[in-house]
């Protein structure tokens, strides 16, 4: 099912511009004089106009048959997983982190500031999600200082705007380049036609959490469609007792966020723009700050704009391109006795890509592309407010460039070879070439065997290279001598569909990471620093099964077991659960409009920097009602139903060895369409 859905994404992209009447439309745009005469006639024949005609008349019309693309293309052949808008609603996912948590082999940890994604056992304290690429409709969310994938409440867009989320495990570097080290998260937003009209969202939840949103989706007769959304959320957060400080942090886990998003589609052109700002408190007193001081706050700001275009050059060849601009700002206020320390960064980038996709040669699906990004600003500053003392004032600029080619070769009707090669050059880190190879045997629909080899590299980011200071009192220092880290992966994926309607996937993998960029404490001066330190090998297995009964009951279950070890000392990694078990069950509640969704997720014991933190089971129960009154959807969610006490491994910046997480919380959500 999964590879199938994945291919579909590609196809959707392929065919976006394929509609008859679009090309003349584009021609009209480019050559207004030549096409002007046709414009009116063409406009008469859109589907909505045709739908006005009596059916009898439609039957008599002469049809010009459209071009059909020859073959399904899998952009990234792997054990990809898809979560749809329907799943998000049924299981009441509040953030992208909730969505990712439900996927096989993934775990999410939280330090009360940001959420961190662990992929197949990799989630190192001190890393800011730099090894996963996060895309929203093709736009790279990862900023250009920390290269962070923002998956918690700090994610760019509202959950209501998501049509689906795909996770493609394994290095996608041969197609995506930087950051696609352990995997790619692909978020696809809803089309304006999915739920047209004006809708309001209102939410209330535990710890004085409120959220309100307004969105509009509409289509205009001229082929343009618009999606607009705005939301604001705030939460007081709960009070936390920390035995390390022997005190309770009151009212410090607060957060607010504002998210704005707009998209305009018109004749193959897509314009998107978004804005997100989130101030967040932190009760854990990181970096040796004063405990219980309410000035502690981090503010993340994102702003982006993209312009994309797609057109068919011929029956089998499509060209697409995009331009983007991205801004990321971070402002941290860290209270110390006598002074407030300010930690700031500003990242700005602009770039573009051009891609050609062609099925013109029989038996081949070729994809070639070129990407360029200019890092206009990579500023990091750290200073004490008073007395004024500047620890760090680093301003950098960089650029990167990528060139890739991928061919999917149909060896036999049921056998495909997918070969990709990408060359990346980063201004500072230099160039590198990484190949990927996948053999896909596909004897019947829903049954396949894939053998995948992949490789990737990740250049050190501006934070790892330059953040820190030699000034006395600084806790961290930069290391401009960092080299890129590399990964090689071997994976086998078996997918089977059984007679009784069960669908199963088994995947076995082995990852080898070399020159891992990892944060250590320099024994000479006690400062934190990033080093290319050591090699890591991970071996694991994931088994997933799902079934849908005709009664409407759906079940998804997965089991992951992995061992990720440091080659130097043969020890397991920190924050690396060996076992991950997930279960998602949903069933209609007597009426077609109400549904219950139950999720249970077990995360195995994890090593921490000093000791370990025990395994835990999270259960969430969500009741969702669609159109319970005309136009009204309701969702009631109980998260951490069993009120389990659990904690995530902490970073070196914390006094705590583990950071406790939320107990049972409630959320009531209402969506109303006018």
């Amino acid at each position: 099912m999964v590879s199938w859905a994945e291919g579909m994404t590609m196809h959707r992209r392929l065919f976006l511009a394929c509609r008859r009447g679009l090309l003349p439309g584009i021609a009209a745009l480019l050559f207004p004089h030549a096409a002007a005469a046709d414009a009116e006639a063409m406009a008469a024949l859109t589907a909505d106009r045709l739908a006005e005609l009596p059916f009898e008349q439609l039957l008599t019309l002469q049809v010009s048959s459209a071009s059909h693309y020859p073959q399904k293309v899998s952009e990234a052949p792997s054990a990809a997983v898809v979560v749809t808008a329907e799943d998000i609603r049924t299981f009441g996912h509040r953030s992208l982190a909730d969505v990712l948590r439900s996927m096989p082999g993934l775990h999410v940890s939280h330090d009360r500031s940001w959420s961190y994604l662990g992929v197949r056992g990799f989630s190192r304290p001190g890393d800011y999600n730099t090894r996963v690429l996060l895309l929203v409709d093709g736009y790279r969310v990862n900023d250009n200082i920390y290269n962070q994938a923002y998956v918690g409440s700090e994610f760019l867009i509202d959950m209501e705007l998501i049509e689906r989320v795909e996770f493609i495990p394994g290095p996608g570097a041969s197609a995506y380049g930087d950051n696609a080290f352990f995997g790619v998260i692909n978020v696809i937003t809803q089309s304006a036609a999915a739920e047209p009209g004006v809708a309001v969202t209102a939410e209330a939840g535990s710890h004085d959490a409120y959220r309100g949103g307004l969105r509009y989706a509409g289509e205009f007769g001229n082929g343009a469609s618009v999606l607009l959304s705005a939301s604001h959320a705030q939460s007081h957060g709960r009070d936390w007792y920390y035995p390390e400080f022997g005190a309770r942090a009151r009212g410090l886990d607060h957060e607010r966020n504002l998210k704005l998003f707009a998209r305009l589609d018109y004749l193959g052109w897509t314009m998107q723009a978004g804005y997100m700002r989130r101030p967040k408190g932190n009760p854990t007193a990181p970096y040796g700050t004063l405990f219980g001081d309410d000035r502690m706050e981090t503010v993340d700001t994102h702003a982006f704009a993209t312009l994309g275009y797609r057109r068919h050059l011929s029956e089998h060849t499509e060209i697409s391109g995009s331009l983007y601009y991205g801004h990321y700002g971070y402002d941290g206020a860290y209270p110390y006795a006598g002074t407030l320390n300010v930690d700031r960064s500003r990242g700005r980038r602009a770039g573009g890509e051009l891609r050609l996709l062609s099925g013109a040669f029989a038996g081949h699906t070729l994809m070639a592309g070129i990407e360029y990004q200019r890092d206009l600003r990579q500023d990091q500053k750290n200073y004490d407010l008073s007395p004024h003392l500047v620890y760090l004032d680093e301003r950098q600029q960089d650029w990167k460039f990528g060139l890739y080619l991928q061919d999917e070769i149909l060896l036999r009707e049921d056998l495909r070879l997918n070969a990709g090669l990408r060359y990346d050059h980063a201004g500072r880190a230099g160039g590198d070439l990484h190949p990927r190879l996948a053999l896909i045997y596909h004897p019947h629909p829903g049954n396949s065997l894939k053998l995948i080899y992949g490789s990737a590299y990740r250049a050190p980011n501006a934070y790892e290279l330059y953040y820190g200071s030699d000034v006395t009192g600084a806790e961290q220092k930069g290391n401009p001598g960092l080299r890129p880290e590399t990964i090689r992966t071997y994976e086998a994926v078996l997918e089977r569909t059984f007679a009784a309607g069960w669908h199963g996937t088994v995947s076995l993998y082995h990852y080898r990471v070399a020159d891992l960029i990892t944060q250590i404490e320099d024994p000479l001066d006690g400062r934190l620093v990033f080093r290319n330190d050591g090699r890591i090998h991970a071996t694991g297995m994931e088994v997933a099964a799902e079934k849908r009964w005709s009664s409407g009951v759906r079940l998804k279950a997965s089991l992951g077991y992995q061992e990720a070890k440091d080659r130097a000392n043969h020890e397991f990694l920190v924050n690396s659960p060996r076992e991950l078990v997930k279960l998602a069950l949903s069933a209609p509640l007597g009426t077609p409009s109400w549904r219950a969704g139950l999720e249970a997720q077990y995360t195995g014991e994890r090593k921490t920097l000093a000791a370990s933190t025990g395994g835990y089971t999270l259960a969430n129960l969500v009741l969702s009602g669609r159109a319970v009154l005309p136009g009204l959807d309701l969702t009631l969610g109980i998260y951490n139903l069993l009120d389990r006490k659990y904690a995530d491994p902490a970073d070196r910046i914390n006094v705590q060895d583990t950071i406790r997480q939320d107990g049972r919380t409630l959320r009531l959500k209402m969506d109303y369409w006018f």
Binding site: M1, W4, A5, H11, R12, F15, C18, R19, R20, G21, A41, A44, L45, T46, A47, D48, L50, A51, L53, P54, F55, E56, Q57, L58, L59, T60, L61, V63, S64, S65, A66, H68, V82, T84, E86, E163, S191, A192, A193, A194, P196, G197, E219, G223, H444, P445, G446, T497, G501, H503, R548, S550, G552, P592, S593, R626, A627, L629, P630, W673
Partner: protein
């Protein structure tokens, strides 16, 4: 509207063809636009069991499964009214989402729809439409094909009845074949 009125209107429409503006009559119509318009008409002439309409919802879901060349053409229908509901277009990532749909379209280029696809739909009140060749052709309620430049359709009554749908007699008359 009583069926005889449908027939009368239909007949008048056919007679009225001679008076059509030449632009519509002479020009070729895009395949996807026309298929989308057909889907709209299928929805107009289908009666769903009360269970499928019990949600008092305001949308009639037109769903597309598989590779989606029809997309933009279908999107143009969004918001149009069918039986007091507005059309909403959904793209399905997996066949299992289909039970929420009123009309489901499986594109013929999609050769890889899993076999469990039909199991999922066996009882669901969904009008299934495809232009895919065998075996989908006989398994789904309505099959579309281009024949000598005209878009024609066949109806398979077995899946229609299994889904507890009622198709108007006018629709059945217009079908090229009813199996």
């Amino acid at each position: 509207m009583p069926p005889w009125l449908h027939t009368l209107f239909g007949g008048l429409a056919v007679l009225g063809l001679g008076w059509l503006p030449p632009a519509v009559q002479a020009q070729e119509v895009g395949e996807y636009e026309l298929k989308a318009a057909y889907l709209y008409n299928f929805a107009l002439f289908t009666t769903w069991p009360s269970e499928a309409m019990a949600d008092k919802g305001q949308f009639l879901y037109l769903c597309v499964l598989g590779t989606d060349p029809l997309g933009p053409a279908l999107d143009a229908l969004a918001g149009k009214r069918v039986q007091e509901r507005r059309i909403a277009v959904r793209r399905l990532a997996a066949p299992e989402e289909a039970p929420g749909c009123h009309v489901l379209y499986l594109h013929g280029g999609e050769r890889e729809a899993p076999p469990r696809f039909l199991d999922v739909l066996r009882q669901a009140p969904v009008l299934t439409v495809t232009d895919a060749p065998e075996p989908w052709r006989r398994e789904m309620a309505i099959h579309l094909a281009i024949e000598r430049g005209r878009l024609v359709f066949e109806v398979n009554l077995e899946p229609v009845q299994r889904a507890r749908l009622t198709l108007s007699s006018r629709l059945l008359q217009l079908a090229r074949k009813v199996h």
